[in-house]
């Protein structure tokens, strides 16, 4: 099994993701420079957070034209696993691997804090080991996390179980007060129809050690490793 972490000019959570995979998941991992076009040695690719291309034009809009993105599309079409976090989620939406778009937060502010997160679908390769009865504490850090899509897309996300995480309060209720950015239907993370591509605004890689205030993010990476291991057997 091998994980890859994509590095764009402006990525800044790439080392965090690398650290979590190697230290807390215990799997081999390599960085993938954005000019790379061959992903054949990888089983799962993480598109990390940061400010690829300085967020010019729209967050994630220019990264989608990097050579590696064509390879990632093919990688996803082949059924392999792609995990976009924060800016990675924005890039996957811009590239059309996930539906919808991340708009400016309704408050207009960059919001950086721990939020409560509710698991909506445990039946994905990324969440099989996440406790569905626990409210997860995971930080967000973004100015464009306000998930938006049209009614038809929202309905199909609901019907297909593609909404994976929602913002909620400490009791697990997805209230408007607990929505940190105005995201439609409190959506914090979604997957594609075939469930091998996940994007989420919160940073689970920053919540993998008690010392950092929470290790609730660890089970997401471990779920993915477990899924890959069960396929490779």
């Amino acid at each position: 099994m091998k994980f890859g972490v994509v590095v764009f000019p402006g990525s800044n959570c790439d080392h965090d993701a690398y650290h979590v995979v190697s230290k807390h998941v215990g799997q081999p991992v390599d960085f993938i420079w954005h000019q790379e076009t061959d992903l054949s040695c990888f089983d799962a690719v993480i598109v990390p957070g940061g400010f690829s291309y300085g967020d010019y034009l729209r967050a994630g809009a220019l990264a989608r034209f990097s050579p590696v993105m064509k390879a990632i599309k093919q990688f996803a079409d082949d059924g392999k696993f792609v995990f976009g976090i924060c800016n990675g989620f924005q890039i996957l939406c811009e590239a059309g691997l996930l539906p919808g778009v991340l708009m400016r937060n309704r408050s207009l502010h960059f919001v950086c804090k721990h939020i409560n997160l509710r698991l909506e679908n445990q039946n994905t390769p990324f969440t099989s080991e996440v406790n569905p009865n626990k409210v997860l504490s995971i930080p967000i850090a973004h100015a464009e996390g306000n998930y938006t899509c049209d009614d038809a897309t929202l309905n199909s996300l609901e019907e297909n179980g593609q909404i994976v995480f929602r913002y909620c309060d400490e009791n697990g209720d997805a209230t408007d007060e607990s929505n940190p950015n105005g995201a439609r239907s409190n959506i914090a993370g979604i997957c594609n129809q075939t469930r091998n591509v996940l994007g989420m605004m919160p940073h689970p890689e920053r919540a993998c050690e008690e010392m950092l205030g929470s290790n609730d993010g660890r089970d997401i990476f471990r779920s993915l490793a477990h899924t890959v291991a069960s396929i490779n057997v």
């Binding site: 034009l57 809009a61 034209f65 708009m103 938006t148 105005g182």
Partner: protein, 81 residues
Amino acid sequence: MKAIVYVTLKPSVLDPQGKAIHHSVELLGHKNIGDIRQGKYFEIAFDAAIPEAEASESAKRIAKDVLANPVIEDYTVEISK
């Protein structure tokens, strides 16, 4: 020859930046304004020799593929000589 591209949020999409600008403008004393929406403006300079129809066609494709996100934005293209 230049193509001018305007990218604007679809009318159904909330524009918090436009709202914040509107609020500031009201603080300046302008009370008779219903709404302000923020958009983006691009100038694409083509080689002089390119026919107008071709410039217009490629500017539209650039707007659709890169400059606007069709999920939330509309665009209009004008050619200026």
